[in-house]
């Protein structure tokens, strides 16, 4: 099942296969920040993250100043509310699993709650615009989709912010939710978020994470199955530039029989000290018979000086499964590839675009919203132009 690592692939990163030490995190999950010690950087879940660039989100020194605006635009039939901390519908998908997520949960003042009633099939996406005007914020969003409802949600992060947030997806029985989260931040933004999906019986969850901007972005998408028959497809795309740190830490907890998960994350890197981290943890517990899971991470290193750490972890406690596999490969686009394409008449800029568009194409198509797909491709082209 494993993909062949292309001959000549050289990155400074590591590919490890082993037990997910952080599948059950070093401190137990909790809503309370006080339950987590301040990380020092050597913990399994923090060892790749430059703590000094977190602007105090990890040690309690970051102070919210309200400089991040959240606007929700929803089609008819969808309820959009801003609720206080004590609302009973908050925190149902799962607990924060690291100190910054717990800090966000302990510190947010108002949460955005989007509810799609049962049996409602939306024809237009719900749009959540998160825009930073240079401020610091702790955020909380909940997206509830009722039984047999179908919805697409686009969360668009722009501007400059220091943001720690939790996003919960609560997907009812037989419901279908697609979430596209775009991190299109300005250069200095810091964004740390946990996305927790609780997938109902025979429900489908599709997540497409697109991380392009920011100084430091660290997202932790997590999937928990509430009942059998659930499906989760987690797609991700990142374009990590010079000096950027982009980290995606996935965890799929197969604790329920007959559920399926599929992960495909792809990243391109260019420039000095571009650093991408991908952690893919899948745990198949003893009771999760009939599980079918596969995860893939591929990285395309466009220039020297970039670093990838790609760590797939699969822990299997039962043999009564349909399938389980993972693959990780990191390859480079180098001068010889450029020469080869140019020797076939293709101009240099087009050669680079060809490679990167080809690499991301199938993931971009997963979004299913043409105008957003085009905007993201244009953005990726622009990132490429900047480097050539």
């Amino acid at each position: 099942m494993a993909e062949t690592i292309p001959a000549g692939a050289t990155t400074e990163g590591a590919i490890q296969v082993g037990h997910p030490r952080d599948a059950r995190v070093s401190a137990p999950a909790s809503y309370d920040v006080a339950d987590f010690p301040v990380p020092h950087g050597r913990e399994e879940e923090w060892r790749f993250t430059p703590l000094e660039r977190l602007r105090g989100l990890h040690d309690g020194t970051a102070v919210a100043d309200g400089g991040v605006k959240v606007e929700v635009t929803a089609p008819q039939g969808v309820t959009v509310e801003t609720v206080g901390r004590d609302d009973a519908r908050l925190g149902k998908a799962g607990k924060p699993v690291d100190r910054v997520a717990a800090q966000a949960y302990s510190s947010f003042e108002k949460a955005s709650l989007v509810s799609v009633p049962k049996d409602t099939v939306l024809t237009e996406p719900v749009r959540i615009a998160v825009h930073g005007a240079g401020g610091t914020a702790y955020g909380h969003q909940v997206i509830e989709v009722g039984a047999f409802a179908e919805a697409v949600v686009v969360i668009d992060h722009t501007g400059d912010a220091v943001l720690a947030a939790n996003v919960e997806y609560v997907i009812g029985d037989g419901a279908k939710l697609t979430v596209v989260s775009v991190q299109d931040w300005d250069d200095k933004a810091v964004h740390i978020a946990q996305h927790t999906a609780l997938v109902g019986r025979d429900a489908s969850f599709k997540s497409v994470i697109v991380t392009l901007g920011g100084d430091l972005v660290r997202l932790s998408p997590r999937v928990i199955y509430g009942a059998p028959g659930g499906e989760a497809d987690l797609y991700g795309l990142y374009f990590t530039d010079k000096g950027q740190h982009q980290e995606h830490r996935l965890f799929i907890d197969h604790d329920t029989p007959h559920c399926r998960s599929n992960v495909a994350y792809k990243g391109a890197l260019q420039g000095q000290d571009a650093h991408a981290v991908w952690i893919g943890d899948v745990l198949i517990r003893a009771e999760a018979e009939g599980t079918d899971t596969y995860e893939l991470n591929r990285n395309l290193v466009l220039t020297d000086g970039a670093r990838v750490d790609s760590v797939p972890n699969l822990e299997i406690e039962t043999g009564e499964i349909v399938g389980a596999g993972h693959a990780s490969a990191t390859g480079r686009f180098d001068d010889e590839q450029l020469f080869y394409l140019m020797a076939r008449g293709i101009p240099e800029g087009e050669a680079r675009r060809l490679v990167v568009r080809g690499f991301f194409g199938e993931l971009i198509q997963q979004i299913g919203l043409p105008e957003l797909e085009e905007r993201l491709m244009a953005k990726i082209d622009a990132e490429l132009e900047a480097s050539v």
Binding site: L300, F333, F339, M342, L354, G358
Partner: protein
């Protein structure tokens, strides 16, 4: 009629302790419709000649001229040379992750022809060319050269040769690493293109084996960075029997 003229070509590479001269005055004229074989021992500079003509940045031209129908090839970028009609089938084709063969072929054909080929005729054209080279249709969806066997890579090079229809085709050790069946299929492809009469072929090889399938009009012996002897097909037979030994010695004393 297209003509590639190489005159007194000198080429160096950067090496430890400064530039090292590899080509030392190559003179050669290849006309459309002709097949030239360049034969020589390892390290004689054959591949350097091939890559220098295609414009690989590793090689620095320090003297001489290369023209294609009077146009200065050495002034052109790599892609301009390809669009002018110079094609290099590489000895070690490069893997290009993320780019499917079909996308690659179409992009390349669009660049060379100056307009995108019409989709319907293009699909047929590619399919037929692949069939002739006994390439599995599933190939089109694989990434360029990724996970290809040695024989698959070479067939893929010749597929491009057939589709791009260059004026001058340089085949750099296309025969190396092929078993007899693959060698025959690849040679048939080269012959089909040559028989059109529209391409001048520069066949670079270490072994005489491929000359059982491809009949050159001219054979040149390459040693120590230049052509030391030229002749007709019979020269290949001499090399087959006697090897390169006399030329290597001659080259060393030259």
């Amino acid at each position: 009629m297209a003509t590639l003229e190489i005159h007194d070509l000198h080429v160096s590479v950067e090496a430890e302790g400064g530039p090292r001269e590899i080509l030392r005055g190559v003179d050669l004229t290849v006309k459309q419709g002709e097949t030239h074989a360049i034969m020589g021992p390892n390290g004689s500079g054959k591949s350097t000649l091939a890559y220098s003509l295609a414009g690989h940045p590793k090689y620095t031209v320090t003297g001489g001229t290369v023209t294609l129908d009077g146009e200065n090839v050495l002034d052109m970028t790599v892609d301009e040379r390809a669009r002018a009609g110079v094609f290099l089938a590489m000895q070690y084709p490069v893997e290009v992750p993320g780019v499917s063969v079909s996308n690659f072929l179409r992009t390349s054909a669009t660049a060379i022809r100056g307009e995108a080929p019409k989709l319907r005729t293009w699909v047929k054209e590619v399919k037929e060319a692949m069939q002739r080279l006994q390439i599995d249709p599933a190939f089109a969806e694989r990434n360029v050269n990724e996970g290809f066997s040695g024989g698959e890579k070479k067939r893929h090079e010749i597929l491009q040769l057939e589709l791009l229809k260059p004026k001058i085709a340089i085949l750099d050790e296309t025969d190396s690493g092929l078993d007899v069946d693959a060698l025959r299929v690849v040679s048939e492809g080269v012959n089909r293109v040559a028989e059109s009469g529209e391409v001048g072929t520069l066949l670079i090889t270490h072994y005489t084996r491929i000359l059982r399938y491809i009949k050159p009009d001219h054979v040149h012996v390459f040693s120590a960075g230049r052509i030391v002897e030229s002749g007709g097909p019979e020269l290949a037979d001499t090399l087959e029997n006697e090897g390169y030994e006399s030329y290597v010695k001659g080259g060393a004393s030259a």
